[in-house]
Amino acid sequence: MAENLHQTGRWQRPSRLPSRWRESGPVWWAVFSMPVLLFLAIPVLLLFFEVRPADLWMQLGSEQTRQAVVISMKTSLISLAIILLLGTPLAYLTGRFQFRGRAVLETLIDLPTVLPPSVAGLALLLAFGRRGLLGAPLNDLGLQIAFTQAAVVGAQVFVAGSLYIRSAAIGFALIDPEILEASQLDGASTLQQLRHVVLPLSRYALLSGAVMSWSRALGEFGATILFAGNLPGRTQTMPLAIYLGFESSLESAVALSILLVLLSSLALLGVRWLSRGRMD
């Protein structure tokens, strides 16, 4: 978006600064950007030198590692589906309507992004645990949530949902009301409007929000270990396997870390690629 503004000439640097400042090129900014860039890049890159490629493949093939990858993929995709299905109405409500209490609602939605995941895990355990206000009646019905994959999904939805909801709300808010009015005049039903106008116009915001939520769900750790526990083959996701692998087998922990770095980078690149299509 910044590029567009720049091309139309509305985005210019203030010209009242002293000339030596006005003329300073990106070189100095690059020099002073180095500390943060190196601090971010070096540890991540060094992960790749911790294991030889052949060992990496072997580690990823081990039973416990494979199980963790499968559980992570399965639960994060289920979480994403739930977030999309249940988060979209909420995003539309907060994105397109002004009403009393909207600020409170938005704060509530944003809360999990700043809350420590351990707080989320504890809150979920106390609510949905066997003695919890919501967990006790469920338990009487024979539904146990703690220590199951449902708890893994619950932790992921709780922690990752807000990223999609916020992104989608911004996307919905940017749709020109006149377009919606026009489609209404043409006799489009709410569902037709949603399918042919709202979703296509906000698809970038929806997709990038979905990718961000998915990667956050994939990396969920703190809430999961408290709420879902740690059992290989049932609730042990990749981050949990890394934490316990760190203590027993550093190689498998590094292998899983590399996999997560690659997946997360791909997800972020995907968001960039999607946004490029929108910019031109």
Partner: protein, 262 residues
């Protein structure tokens, strides 16, 4: 002289990175199950050594050994089993032969006070549907729990299937005894396997494991090589091994080092 932001930043980082040399602080990495006795020990130790502060890092012994081998700054390492102490020796964090036994412990089975699964005896742990939590295999309490199950399976009273049936009931492998106890206290798990000393002062039901099947868990202590306060490390270890230190450990339900033969 004006303080440039960069200089302030460096000073702030330095303040975070380590304590100044004249603050007398001894850093002890100790097994999670030693939290209560060691906190009591430290109070007396600090009273006897004015100006000295004992700082603890309590976690699963396997996590502590890994942190030490990765270069964490500590003066004393207290492990809940020999395996993790050996690992610290292999990693170059602790000198070979410098570890001493400070106390012993035994396992018990703990239940939430309302006992939701109606467990009356150890055999009930094998009943399908009972939710059991134990330590992960690398956590000393988890390794000991598996040793106990191996021995129990030899006992005709339980039968050979006992071990596998109990392990099939395990719903979570926790990273420390503290995490096991919390999940039982909250009533999320029906039963957990922890040390006898973990139950002191807690609102929990316990089932004793017969002495013939029980394992003898041994705690080891050693000074950390290249620790910043070697003199204080020695003083702290000597205090733990002294008659007074052993008395404090015994008050928390640990078995003093001298009382059970090695």
């Amino acid at each position: 002289m004006r303080w440039s932001p960069a200089l302030l930043l460096l000073l702030a980082l330095a303040a975070c990175a380590g304590s100044s040399p004249d603050s007398r602080e001894v850093t002890v990495f100790a097994a999670a199950s030693l939290r209560e006795p060691f906190t009591a020990l430290a109070e007396t130790f600090e009273a006897q050594h004015p100006g000295v502060r004992v700082t603890f890092n309590f976690a699963g012994s396997q996590a502590l050994a890994q942190q030490l081998n990765a270069g964490a700054a500590a003066d004393v390492f207290a492990s809940a089993d020999a395996r993790q102490m050996d690992w610290a020796v292999e990693g170059g964090s602790v000198a070979d032969g410098s570890a001493a036994v400070i106390a012993h412990n035994r396992l018990v089975v703990i239940l939430p006070p309302e006992n939701p699964a109606g467990i009356q005896r150890l055999a009930d742990l094998a009943r399908p549907g009972v939710r059991v939590v134990v330590g992960a295999e690398d956590v000393p309490a988890g390794a000991y729990a598996r040793q106990w199950l191996d021995q129990a399976a030899q006992d005709p009273a339980h039968g050979e299937a006992f071990r596998d049936q109990v392990l099939a009931n395990v719903v979570s492998l926790e990273e420390s005894v503290a995490a096991i106890r919390t999940k039982v206290l909250l009533g999320e798990a029906d039963a957990g396997v922890v040390y006898a000393s973990d139950t002191a002062g807690q609102d929990l039901l316990t089932i004793e494991i017969p002495a013939g099947q029980n394992v003898q868990a041994s705690y080891y202590i050693a000074p950390v090589l290249a620790g910043p306060q070697p003199d204080l490390a020695r003083a702290f270890i000597d205090f733990v091994l002294s008659a007074e230190g052993q008395r404090i450990l015994a008050e928390s339900g640990l078995i003093p080092a001298g009382e059970t033969g090695e």
